[in-house]
Homo-oligomer: 262 residues x 2
């Protein structure tokens, strides 16, 4: 949808796993070529973008290599990069450039597709010393034309950063829903927009997030440990009725959060 806006020179070909998805995908993306046959979908492609679940991305290199030319750049949209970059570096070589567009919502499936989903969203590319410079250029151009602001860092730096700004928020939202509603689910009816926003991501599909959490396990555990320290600090200040520490805690959070442009 993003690439088919405003006269961009892309011909989009989509692979989808299930035949029964084809009618809805075809209706949402009338200008695209569609197939459940991977060979047909990628044949002759100038660039290939892997958007399946993380483990499926990891395992797709071998079969993909048989269907595309040796110089075709390949990128992906997986949420954890070290494993994927290592696996696809092996099966596809320097033409694979890992990417993580920081866009999306708690929804999934073609019904959640939006042409402006990527507009202004950061897209983190994770090239390595083995990356092919021309593939990197083409992958960079692809994500920019989709609407993203592109930046680059190593797979390890990426995984540490997203543990904190994506995986930890998801873990915390899920724990918060459970702490807020397990004992008495009816209190949800009293919630305002604060609760709804704070817990929105917890509606995301658990099978995908289980994969993400396990793929970034070490970094997520470290981030959760830090969260535990901060939660403990606030609880301690509350237990002591320490107004000054509570206000300083909240002030630091507000200041850190406000720095970010909305």
């Amino acid at each position: 949808m993003a690439l088919q806006r405003g006269g961009l020179p892309w011909n989009v070909s989509l692979w989808t796993r299930r035949e029964e998805s084809l009618p809805a995908v075809s209706a949402a993306l009338p200008g695209c070529r569609l197939s459940c046959d991977l060979k047909k979908a990628v044949e002759g492609a100038d660039i290939v973008v892997l958007c399946t679940s993380p483990h499926a991305i990891e395992n797709s290199g071998g079969v993909l290599a048989d269907f595309i030319s040796a110089s075709t750049p390949v990128t992906d949209a997986g949420s954890v990069k070290a494993r994927i970059v290592a696996a696809l570096g092996k099966s596809l070589g320097g033409r694979f450039i890992g990417a993580h567009p920081m866009a999306g919502s708690e929804q999934s499936g073609i019904a959640a597709a939006r042409a402006d989903l990527f507009d202004g969203a950061p897209c983190i590319l994770t090239p390595t010393p083995e990356s092919d410079p021309q593939a990197l250029d083409e992958v960079r151009r692809f994500w920019k034309e989709a609407g993203c602001r592109v930046c680059e860092m190593s797979p390890a730096t990426h995984d540490a950063a997203v543990a904190r700004i994506s995986h930890l928020p998801h873990a915390v939202a899920a724990a918060l829903v459970r702490a807020a509603l397990s004992k008495n689910p009816d209190v949800a009816a009293l919630a305002g927009s604060g609760f709804r926003d704070t817990t929105r991501v917890a509606i995301g599909p658990e099978a995908l997030w289980r994969e993400i959490f396990l793929d970034n396990r070490e970094e997520l555990i470290t981030a959760i440990s830090d969260l535990q320290v901060h939660v403990g600090e606030l609880k301690n200040a509350l237990a002591h009725g320490d107004a000054e520490s509570i206000e300083a805690f909240l002030r630091e959070a507000r200041t850190l959060r406000s720095r970010e442009a909305e």
Copy 2:
């Protein structure tokens, strides 16, 4: 703003603490009577609504009683009810009916005012056995005409519920911002809408939230303890690479959260 929509029969008179606020308030609410003199603002009122900080609400009863007739109903918009209801029950008697409209945002001040702020929002009234039935009727009508869905419960039940759906989310959002950004604030530039939504409430004013947290200290500490149990459970499952438990944890959160109508 809400009461002045569509021919409702309200004449609104506003008290504001600071003279310098008057021009902006007057511009935002052209049909209202404005004053920094409490006596002038409330004289002859059929109902009085206290919307200051929690401690100011608590302490307003004595002075207010001198300026209004003995039968004028009084309500408020404070976030914690047991303390306010006890204090104002003493100073104003059965005509005080505590209320908590579950509306608002991380913003404050007249610039954040919106006519539709209360539309469809729950408003929790906390009458007691001492409440005057006619005052309760009038206060109920007031919040309904402002746009709220009104429900009723005891002050203690209210405080336990909002500890979980409002005060805990705020505490968690603040702790999450600190855990995510303290070590490296620059990662905020990579965040998507998930991080922004999960942490939005942490932009709220810390002086107000310090008061709220301390006024509902016992309930909030209990809720934080529950959160710590859930966070520990998830961390433990991650440490053991226990895919099944992680998925079950996330599934329960999604199911609980999805029950609530958006």
